[in-house]
């Protein structure tokens, strides 16, 4: 799949995020939009065995959305991939919906782990990677963590274990959009420097542009080729990417657009889509 096709899928996924959050009148658009290209690359290029007809294939690659509040991007990606009809995105956060506020593995096929309570998802990804090593399976495990989320101590417990056990089948992606609910991560309680931290936990560290598919390809390729240690990809991203008024604005971390804002957001994304078609 070429970069243009990927960009098209990512734009459709961004529309799905906005539609779902708008319909729910709640949810987390900012960190969903910032990671849309990462999930697009993972689900349309990188991950093996992703099949809506066989979502629990034991040999599939696994994805854990440790920053579970970005559920809208996971749902929109799974819908784009054909796991369920896109119309269902409009049921986000509604009573009886399979699309819970945070992902539920028992409700929605394609969700490899229920997440949402920050700091916990990475440990489960480590467990999956460990199981793969114990059973000599070739699947890989990908975990997306937030750059605010890594303030949680459990993240570093998980990294210590993954580094110690040399889990080279594990790739941790940091969605480094620089913002958390209370503002700039560097001002709230800085997790920087990121690369030195991961390196000191015996990780290979790669930097990437979270909105450049070639850059993501290079990073994931290096992760796959790195043996004897897990890889952390520090993916520099823009919170709210693709929607003009949401970009780099912490206020859009966990807020839904009203009808007027929804129109503007969709128009922004339609324009991006139109440019891609030219």
């Amino acid at each position: 799949m070429n970069d243009l096709e990927l960009a098209f899928h990512a734009n459709e996924i961004r529309k799905g995020i906005i539609q779902g959050v708008h319909a729910a009148k709640a949810g987390h658009p900012g960190g969903s939009l910032s990671s849309a290209d990462i999930l697009t690359y993972l689900y349309f290029v990188e991950m093996n065995g992703i099949d809506p007809d066989d979502p629990s294939n034991p040999d599939r690659d696994r994805f854990v959305l440790s920053k579970g509040h970005a559920a809208p991007v996971l749902y929109a990606t799974l819908a784009e991939k054909g796991f369920f009809p896109k119309e269902e995105l409009l049921t986000l956060r509604k009573v009886g919906s399979r699309l819970q506020g945070h992902p539920d593995m028992n409700l929605l096929p394609g969700v490899d782990m229920s997440t949402g309570s920050l700091g916990q998802g990475l440990s489960t990804a480590v467990g999956m990677a460990l199981a793969g090593k114990m059973d000599q399976k070739n699947y890989r495990v990908y975990a997306l963590v937030g750059d605010g989320e890594i303030q949680e101590g459990q993240i570093w417990e998980a990294c210590m274990f993954a580094g110690h056990r040399k889990l080279d089948n594990l790739t941790v992606i940091v969605d480094n959009n620089g913002l958390q609910i209370d503002g700039d991560i560097a001002k709230v309680c800085s997790p920087y420097p990121l690369d030195e931290k991961f390196m000191s936990f015996n990780f290979n560290v790669v930097h990437a542009d979270a909105h450049d598919f070639q850059s993501l390809k290079d990073a994931f390729t290096e992760a796959k080729e790195t043996k004897g240690m897990p890889t952390a990809i520090i993916a520099k991203s823009i919170k709210g990417k693709g929607v003009s008024f949401m970009e780099n604005n912490a206020g859009w971390h966990g807020k839904a657009p009203n009808d007027e804002e929804y129109e503007i957001a969709m128009k922004d994304l339609e324009e991006i889509g139109a440019k891609l078609c030219q």
């Binding site: 916990q120 440990s123 990804a125 480590v126 467990g127 114990m134």
Partner: protein, 318 residues
């Protein structure tokens, strides 16, 4: 029907030891069974399994929260993880991990905690977890089991390995009498066991308090007080039928637990009684307070959780 019990106290085994040994037997039966520990393999007795199956014992270091998450991840890939630590850390430190990544997901993880209750002894209040039953009981999907001796502990571990879903197992540090008959005993999850029939009052006991309660019942019998003693090994789901049938017969209840009187056996039995068979029930357990250092047996005596203390409290109650 009464079950054969041995009150001689000749053979004593700590249920943590029973746990470690049961794991080895089950390790042969279930190749997917794995054991996780947090730097306490010697104390939790998972080292017995570690020696037999070094590749299937995962020491996570002193990081209980991460251990629970790893267990969940392993379970999602088909493993049967038993995650062990002291009750304080397994259910207290890692409460939210157990709730969110094990119970909410309904993953096949067994949280097997040792060193529960005041009988931890010398380590004192920080390590004497008297809240674990309360914490685990409050989580949806969680089965809560507190075996009373070696025979029951081994049987409960075997049951948990065969069951698909989250289970909390409570074990102790102190060597306690083996009271059940290994040849005739059968563990039936949820089903409370009448160990001694009586008509004057019902003593509901759990864990090591089952033996102490049976001994207290012997003393009461000398004075013509006929106590029924019921072993409540499963606190959740709780056996409503057995509880109500007995209370209807005796009209008076007592609960005995090496746990806070808030949220554990007293609460579980009272909830049933309040709903279905209103009866006055005396709680014997750790009152709303922290423990302290001391030899386990001295502490059980001090907090009136030995046979003499139970006898004394019941006499006052009657």
């Amino acid at each position: 029907m009464s079950v054969k019990v041995n009150l001689s106290g000749e053979s004593k085994i700590a249920t943590r030891e029973s746990y470690g040994k049961a794991l080895v037997e089950l390790g042969n039966k279930y190749p997917e069974l794995v054991v996780l520990d947090a730097d306490l393999a010697g104390a939790t007795k998972t080292e017995i399994f570690q020696k037999a199956f070094p590749d299937r014992h995962i020491d996570c270091g002193i990081a209980e929260a991460n251990m629970m998450g790893i267990a969940a991840g392993l379970a999602s890939c088909g493993k049967i993880p038993f995650a062990s630590s002291f009750a304080m850390f397994a259910t207290g430190r890692a409460f939210e991990q157990v709730r969110n990544t094990i119970a909410h997901t309904e993953l096949n993880v067994k949280v097997a905690a040792t060193h529960a209750g005041i009988s931890v002894g010398e380590d004192g209040a920080t390590h004497q977890c008297c809240e674990d039953l309360s914490l685990m009981r409050s989580i949806p999907n969680m089965i809560v089991i507190n075996p009373c001796d070696d025979v029951e502990a081994r049987a409960a571990v075997a049951w948990a390995a065969a069951y698909k879903g989250p289970v909390y197992l409570r074990f102790g540090r102190l060597a306690i009498p083996v009271i059940l008959d290994a040849d005739s005993y059968e563990f039936e999850m949820e089903k409370a066991i009448v160990l001694r029939e009586g008509k004057d009052l019902t003593i509901f006991a759990t864990g090591l308090e089952v033996y102490e309660s049976l001994m207290a019942a012997e003393k009461l019998a000398e004075e013509g007080i006929d106590a029924e003693v019921i072993n409540v090994h499963t606190l959740k789901p709780i056996d409503e039928e057995t509880i109500c049938t007995s209370l209807a017969k005796t009209g008076k209840g007592v609960t005995v637990e090496e746990h806070s009187v808030i949220g554990g056996l007293f609460s579980a039995v009272s909830e049933v009684a309040a709903k279905r068979c209103p009866t006055k029930i005396l709680p014997i357990g750790i009152e709303d307070e922290f423990g302290q250092s001391g030899p386990a047996k001295e502490l059980l005596k001090l907090y009136k959780l030995d046979a003499d203390g139970i006898y004394e409290k019941i006499k006052q109650f009657l």
